[in-house]
Subunit: 292 residues, 5 copies
């Protein structure tokens, strides 16, 4: 992830970074331009359709559907953003719970108990690390797929790692309790942080392995495709060759929304828009070490 | 459920999967096309209505209502999606709580206590299974219906199964406490996971047995029906025979939203868009066995 | 409440159930039609206003306000639906907590303690019943009204019944604790369910006795009224007698939204759209009896 | 607050209550009418601008901005409503917690302990009262203002009263625990209710002392003002003197939304739209006395 | 932050405060005006483009995209406002938890234990202060940036201060428990407040260091820029020199939304729209001292 100054309009407008939708859509925009040019040539030069022909009124369809396509796309981007933000919240909660667990254990364990301090120091940081790797794995993504994935079988590293680390943490804490190193009251107040790890892991897996319903996604793409592809037919009659940049820009504006949504709906992938989960895991390591 | 690559536009646009609304709506789209053709023939060839007649202005009504119908449909789909996503969250919570319960019991029960370990290993997985079956049942769907359903009586399998399994889990845990195998402090930290099962079950039942208010659903369908059916009257005067694909496409765009909403508002049915609850139940079984 | 098959379009479109807004609005739709006919006759036959007169441009006002009235109405219906759905969630929570309380007590109370088992079995079911009646009462609705309601005084049945039942439940549980029939740890894990009853009751009362702000409700109705009533003035010039069904349909589409909102914003009333709280109370009774 | 029957359209449309925006905006509506009349006279009689002049196309600006101003106003009203409803929920939670605290203490305190019963009976009711007064105070409103308010200093009644009452409640409860009148387990289950008082107080203060960001509020008012003031320039060319009622009505429709938002965003003020917090405090008193 | 009277329209409309978007955008509005004047001169005087040329139809593009740009901007401002309001809620929660912790410790600590009372009195207030400074720091903002920031290294003050203070608080509380000055039950009920500090800190850091996804932000700015810059081409043909103020006003209305969003999405910066966190920290100090 890149931290940027949102007020620097100049950079935003005239620079084209890797994640910029202009760069991604440029070939398609040129394609749309050529397509529009073709339609323009056909209608204006070959078929000689005059501006008064009914074909021009196809724009009635576009006018009627502008609302619905705009709303769908804006809502699509918003709900992808909600997933992204939920992912960020979950990793924020992981930070909080790692810190709180360290703060509590620091107070409860005698300062000379190097053995247990070392253990928690390492294991808490490892959890964040293991979870980050777990979320980047293809195995996690296809966990709920109805098709088999023989190509992923070789990746299968045996057990579910975050669960194993969480289990280690809980076992050690319970042993401290059984050995009377911490009291029952202290066990109770450690419980919240200990279960949070698995809750966060499960919620991240949910975001990762559950795309939006297939039929919704299919419909949206078919709708955009057909909407944009029929634009030139009426636009070239009103705008002649000016229709080329106009259609390309409308294509850019609408399709960007879908493209951005695709980018951010899986926030654990590691491209420029995604959540910096490795960085967060590093910070957890640093802060836990500071405390414990 | 099918895990798909949302960036593969080509497949989305040119393939027509089973859950694609194009496939579902095709007969009706052809019907709308024929109806539009009929109106076109009537107005243009038989009644010879000219473009300047007032009937053309019926489009004023459509313009005025486009906005409200678009918002209604987009909100309809969104609120159906919210139910679907809530269902997914609930099953995610079931995963988390099953894992946490297993992790805790693994730490608390002595490793030689095969008897109890076996019990929890089995019973936690069974809960997910029993709940999945309970949610697919017609009985659950019609639980709150004001009409009687004599045809479902033979299905009635006696008691409410998920409740019985949850009761088993709690009884065993309470017995462990009474036999001092776990302490009171440990009982308290097991409580959260134990009650979560019944909470999740109740929330899933709510999604299953409470459709959106009848009068809202009725209104929406009557509104779409009348809106689309009156479109050809004015469109054929502006677009002549081009109105046929135009009306069919508008019909497709609007009706798809309602059809998708109908599909996903009950997320426990097992079709291509629905939540893979059997698969999740399997995963719970696998992960709990790994831990315990 | 009626459980329906949302995919049965035919029934939705051609049947007119009791809660259908078409049935409710039919007299007013006929009224709007007659009013439009009157305006049409006046403008077209009596005043002989031509299509080129400025009065036709009144439609500019309608165009400009279409957005805002559509959004207001759709949001109005959505926020009424949110209340309805919150009501459903609260009753779902009542189901969950009743079941969990029964499951826990079943595990904690010795199976021969018929006396206490009977008590909880009855009292938990009674709570749901008493709450359902409490929410249907006019007294509850006017609890926060600034005007006095002498006509309701005779209904006043003394004390607040749900509170009394909740108090009974808590007293008995506390007595079990004092008599050492349940331990302190067990008391702590029963606490969550016991307080939930009163929390649910208070939240339902809030939905019942707090309508949306008066000035908002007033504005919305005045706005719809004036918007629809001025429609015919410009529409009859464009549509002549076709304006009659057109205005009636626009009236139906817009007013239905407000009418549906009025129906569902108080979800505890017992009409076809309302929540089946008596049925839920019955189910609680059945399931608690199964468990305990 | 006034409890009203939302289905009584007649009253809503033809009565003009104190909180009706028509009454509040009437002078301004008349002003807008006169201004429009002035512009109409200027353009039509004095400058003799014909309908074909470019000034008429200023309506292009209004068309383009209609949507954004509509959304802004509807969202503005909705977010003000969300504050109002959050305020209502908080006071609902105060009711619930007061009742639950009373129910619990009733069970825990021996019935002959008049001294403590009396104390809680009084102090719980007093909290609601003190909080209601605290929220109506100007001091609370300007607590976070960056300007000094010497005129309010004389109001400063020393300490923060709700905090003092909450502190009393907690001190007494802790004393009961130290005197072994309640056990540690009972203290733990009383904790939730005791901290809720201060949480509710803080949340109400937040709603009271944090208006929406200044620059947003400023922008919205400037936008409405300029939008409505430029309407007559193009409307009088299309509508002539009919523009007078039309502009006045558009002004009414748009400005009402902002006026309603201003009314309800501070829900603790005591006018007709505000929350009946004194009434709720009374009810708390009544119900707590019934229980304890 | 400035507490203002939202009903004082006069001040809002005719005063131009520091945070007013009119002041910020004035140079750009003048720029847009000059640009429009240039286009007007070019098209009307130099190229002599008549009103009937196709270039005028470029407005079709603007009409089609008005809806999507309006929604994007309104949603953008709303989601920035949500961050701002979440920040306010978090600081409200800090107030509540500081108060509750003080209230509880006041009850639990013997009144003669000046040593511990002093400690909590100071440390609770210090936490709010330290957090406020931590959130204003550039280091916090760039914590997750993928680029290195050598220029900030000198600021690095060693350890994470809020964590250190939270650790102090927990250590002292745990020592009180070990020294039997507070019981285990009391430790349990202090736990909620103690962990809340770190949770609030982490959530504020999240708001501070995670801007909205880069590609979304880039797209929005490019879209606004291109949309507004192409407006004059068609508007000068319809409006001639009137296009100058019209384009400037549309520019003001749309860009203000983005500018306001940029302002409020980081609520911890200290300008006129930002949250008064230093003031809240002062209030916490005052109220904690009153209680303890």
């Amino acid at each position: 992830m890149l931290t940027y100054n949102s007020k620097d309009w100049f950079k935003f407008i005239f620079f084209f970074r890797r994640s910029d939708t202009v760069r991604k859509l440029l070939p398609l925009m040129i394609g749309m331009g050529l397509f529009t040019w073709l339609i323009a040539w056909l209608e204006l030069k070959y078929l000689l359709i005059s501006e008064r022909e009914v074909i021009k009124n196809v724009s009635m369809m576009h006018t009627m559907l502008t609302f619905v396509i705009s709303m769908l796309l804006v809502f699509r981007t918003n709900s992808a953003y909600d997933r992204w933000w939920e992912g960020r919240k979950l990793w924020g909660a992981l930070v909080n719970n790692s810190r709180n667990l360290a703060i509590k254990l620091n107070a409860m364990l005698p300062s000379e108990d190097k053995y247990n301090r070392e253990f928690y120091n390492k294991t808490i940081s490892i959890y964040a690390n293991v979870l980050a790797l777990h979320l980047k794995s293809e195995l996690t993504k296809f966990e709920l797929d109805e098709k088999d994935h023989p190509e992923l079988l070789q990746l299968e590293s045996g057990k579910h790692l975050p669960n194993q680390v969480a289990s280690l943490l809980f076992r050690r804490t319970n042993r401290l309790y059984e050995e009377k190193k911490i009291s029952g009251d202290q066990l109770i107040i450690l419980n919240g942080e200990l279960i949070s790890f698995t809750d966060i892991c499960g919620a991240c897996e949910r975001i990762k392995n559950t795309p939006i319903p297939l039929s919704y996604s299919t419909f949206l793409k078919k709708f955009i495709f057909f909407f944009v592809l029929t634009l030139p037919f009426s636009f070239v009659l009103s705008l002649q060759y000016w229709a080329i940049p106009v259609v390309a820009f409308i294509f850019y504006a609408l399709t960007s929304l879908e493209v951005i949504a695709e980018e951010i709906e899986d926030p654990f992938d590691g491209d420029e828009n995604d959540l910096p989960i490795m960085k967060i895991a590093e910070n957890i390591k640093k802060h836990v070490a500071e405390i414990l």
